[in-house]
Assembly symmetry: C2
DNA sequence: TTGAAAGCGCTAACAA
DNA sequence: TTGTTAGCGCTTTCAA
């Protein structure tokens, strides 16, 4: 920066100002400085800027897996929402594991992000404590935790699953199964199963047709295998709620392979409104959790909060309303 | 850190050492320091550490879209490969746009990453210059640029497409179409099309059956629409090479909707070895570009290079060998 | 194995 | 609108 200042014939401080869009620098001085910087191939050093200003410009984000279109959509919403700001997403993935999440959160906090966005509302005690101590805005998403750390932008996975159950019942099905992972890690998947069981019981139906397809996340292949298991165990099943569209598509493909008619012989629904559920034949009934919108809303809230500093907890939990998308895979019974 | 030092009864320098796994600190001193830090809720400040040591621990990575399982797999391979090191991925997406890439690269370089990993080998002049000036290892991936900036871990998209053409010809097809985006942005998609046309010409076949499905990336829906167009324009087409598995699955779904038999009436192949191509009915012939492996290899190279500093260009371009995965969607002609 | 002094490259605060 | 001074929280270097 000193080199640029010398080249442009100004003080380093003026160079610093020229690189911040808001600061008061005369247009021609700024132009001269930018040109000098270009000539010298100078690129700002955000590390030094962050140390000095105590503002790193980072928004830390944790997702279970980078390989999941739902979470990727939330990150897109967040990134797009922050594009016009000085803020930049710093992303890490937890592999659906709270201990891994704790490690990741610790690592991310060393970067002094100005806010942190978590997927899910279940964390280790240590992790929770670190987050509370960090003195920054904390967002829990994709869930509705009973005792939130700070702010929440999410929805009830249990209620969303119940929506599917009622839809299936309204189309005349009674013998309904749930296909998901084991309850070990994916708490959102577990909540969906809980929502399924509760709603089945509330409707005086048997909520015990549960197929476990291994540790989350469930792949298409595992969905197919689980469907094979289901057809063997309870061949009279009339409908199945799958923990995600990927599992649901796997299940559908297994039916196609076996010549099992969907939806007449068995109805299938998924979760997540992945593109595939819209395009496959028949298209799959699903829940749209509004992934992109979750990210967008978090971005808006962050911009609003980081304006008023230091962090003032305004804590207006925002419920997302997942919507049922009824399609042919649950029609014509 | 001074507070922790006071709490533990040592100097700040000793605390600093205690937090670096390699440094010489007696086991009991370290234990006391870690406990003191825990009591105080202290978390290291990587910003200050980075400024002082001139090592930020960041590896910058650019991908066209976070919403693409192929690139996500490469990022996974990279992240997994760096897990045991002190290095952390700093990810950004370019939206398949070189100008956006330039902006992103500039932003990422302000964070002073110790290496940068790019998707693709086509960049703006300014972007290239910035990268050359940065004095860090630069990796171009998913491509085989003629004039690489530094190091390369990729493959020839054109050759991979030719592989598919030869496969289709070997199964008896002659009237073959290509289904992809317009050539505006996705240079890898464009290279695949080029490889298709060249190979068709080399085999004395008509390489002009090209369907453009809009700006990249091509969604499943656009793949379906493009297939509809293809069946109208050239109804006697015997096979179609799609720019990606997503487009291919869209095309397949359109055939199912119309009762067009795949592979007897028309064969379909894709690109990318996405999970869907393996699970759908019939499974889709594709190219496996070894996404995860690309990331793994880059991680290995980075660890090797960042050891020997400052950056010594060892520049051993590593060719990835994409493999053909022949499946039912191109069988039984 | 531990400590003291200096400084990484920038920005806040104040002055002109 | 521009400049001066001090210091952000660590690590490097050198000494003990």
């Amino acid at each position: 920066m000193m080199d640029v200042a010398r080249e442009a014939g100004v003080s380093p401080m003026t160079v610093s100002r020229a690189f911040k869009s808001d600061s008061y620098v005369s247009a021609q001085t700024r132009k001269a400085i930018i040109e000098a910087a270009d000539r010298l191939g100078y690129v700002m050093n955000s590390t030094a800027a962050g140390l000095s200003s105590q503002k790193t410009g980072f928004i830390a984000v944790t997702i279970p897996s980078i390989n999941n279109a739902n979470f990727a959509d939330t990150v897109r919403g967040l990134t797009d929402g922050l594009r016009q700001s000085r803020l930049q997403v710093l992303l890490g993935s937890t592999n659906y594991d709270v201990d891994e999440e704790e490690r990741l959160v610790r690592q991310l906090l060393t970067r002094r992000p100005e806010a942190i966005v978590l997927t899910g509302g279940v964390h280790t005690d240590k992790c929770r404590k670190m987050l509370e101590n960090a003195g920054i805005a904390v967002f829990e998403t994709w869930d509705l935790p009973k005792d939130p750390i700070d702010d929440v932008v999410g929805f009830s996975n249990a209620n969303a699953a119940a929506l599917l159950v009622r839809h299936l019942i309204s189309t005349g099905r009674r013998k309904i199964a749930f296909l998901g992972g084991d309850a070990s890690r994916d708490t959102r998947g577990f909540d969906r199963r809980r929502g399924f069981v509760n709603e089945m019981n509330a409707q005086n139906l048997d909520g015990n047709r549960l197929i476990e397809a291994g540790p989350p996340p469930i792949s298409m292949r595992e969905g197919a295998e689980a469907m094979a298991k289901l057809l063997t165990l309870w061949p009279d099943t009339q409908a199945v709620v799958c923990v995600s569209d990927l599992a649901a598509f796997g299940a559908l493909s297994e039916c196609q392979r076996r010549g099992v008619d969907v939806p007449r012989r068995i109805a299938i629904c998924g979760f997540g409104a992945y593109e595939i559920s819209e395009i496959c034949v028949p298209p799959i009934t699903t829940i749209d959790p509004q992934c992109y919108r979750i990210g967008q809303v978090v971005a808006q809230k962050i911009i609003k909060k980081i304006g008023l500093e230091p962090h003032t907890s305004s804590n207006t939990e925002l419920g997302i309303q997942p919507s049922l998308v009824a399609r042919a895979s649950t029609g014509n019974y």
